[in-house]
């Protein structure tokens, strides 16, 4: 078993971020519960945030932190409105499965 390096290469952080992003995509595509789909989007946003912070470290500038701060704020707004929509949908349709919300089809 190889010994752990003293410091972590930058690419490991980016790879982790890519992994989390792909997981988010997987959740978004595979899951049928609207709340889980929503959470997968949040996971993707988090993965992108990690990339921002990593590049901020690489460039020695604080701008990446500001971007992820804005992502957080937008995510908060999105969660508030999105969950309100989900609540309304559930009130009217008694379901959270996205496959059953197809009244605009046909």
């Amino acid at each position: 078993m190889p010994a752990l390096p003293a410091a972590v290469p930058l690419s490991w952080y980016l790879t982790l971020s890519a992994f989390l992003f792909v997981l988010g995509v997987a959740g978004f595509l595979f899951r049928r519960n609207i709340i889980t789909v929503f959470m997968s989007i949040e996971l993707m946003l988090n993965a992108v945030n990690l990339t921002f912070i990593t590049f901020s470290y690489k460039l020695q500038q604080v701008d990446g932190h500001i971007f992820s701060f804005f992502v957080m704020v937008v995510a908060a707004a999105e969660a508030a409105v999105g969950l309100a929509i989900i609540l309304t949908v559930f009130k009217n349709r008694q379901t959270l499965e996205i496959d059953e919300l197809d009244s605009l089809k046909n």
């Binding site: 752990l4 003293a6 410091a7 972590v8 290469p9 930058l10 690419s11 490991w12 952080y13 790879t15 982790l16 890519a18 992994f19 989390l20 992003f21 792909v22 997981l23 995509v25 997987a26 959740g27 899951r31 049928r32 709340i35 889980t36 929503f38 959470m39 949040e42 996971l43 988090n46 945030n49 912070i53 990593t54 901020s56 470290y57 020695q60 500038q61 604080v62 701008d63 932190h65 500001i66 701060f69 804005f70 957080m72 704020v73 937008v74 995510a75 908060a76 707004a77 508030a80 409105v81 969950l83 309100a84 929509i85 989900i86 609540l87 309304t88 559930f90 009217n92 499965e97 496959d99």
Partner: protein, 166 residues
């Protein structure tokens, strides 16, 4: 020490992320996401982002996810049902995702030069002071616009929550 800490928190983030996707119950997924966010906060600290790590805990894990858990508890919708999928999607989905991950990972390995290491304490511009200064000088206009966005979101949430749709 750096590598060890990275390994631990990256493993937590990865395992929780996988758990988010494979769990059948929404509340398990929500808690997994909280785990991912907490682990990411620790990774931000390793990268020198003190303020953003705290914001991650306060805003993401402490507020947004509580909202999710709250809604899941309120609706109490139970376990997700597996619905019929198109056969090609069933078999091609996971390999395609692996291809996506492989491509991105390969690209990352290609473009990032070797010997570009993350050393804890090398980046000291992530303090609340620096973030605040950047936020209120260079990024003042976006900041104000986001405050308007938040206001609109509050209004939207209230209208949606109150209105009875027939």
């Amino acid at each position: 020490m750096d590598a060890l800490l990275f390994m631990i928190f990256a493993a937590i983030a990865a395992v929780c992320g996988i758990n988010l996707v494979i769990q059948k119950h929404a509340i398990s997924s929500a808690l997994s996401l909280v785990g991912v966010m907490a682990a990411l906060a620790a990774l931000y600290l390793l990268l020198g982002g003190e303020f953003i790590a705290a914001a991650q805990l306060v805003v993401y894990a402490g507020a947004i996810m509580v909202l999710f858990v709250f809604v899941i508890m309120l609706l109490n919708a139970g376990v997700e049902r597996t619905t019929r999928r198109r056969p090609w999607a069933q078999y091609a989905g996971v390999p395609l995702l692996l291809v996506l991950f492989g491509t991105v990972a390969l690209l990352v390995q290609e473009i990032s030069p070797a010997g570009d290491n993350v050393i804890f304490g090398e980046f000291t511009k992530g303090t609340p002071l620096d973030v605040g200064r950047a936020l209120f000088t260079t990024y003042l206009l976006p900041f104000e616009v986001t405050s308007v966005l938040i206001l609109i979101a509050i209004l939207g949430a209230i209208v949606l929550a109150r209105k009875e749709i027939d």
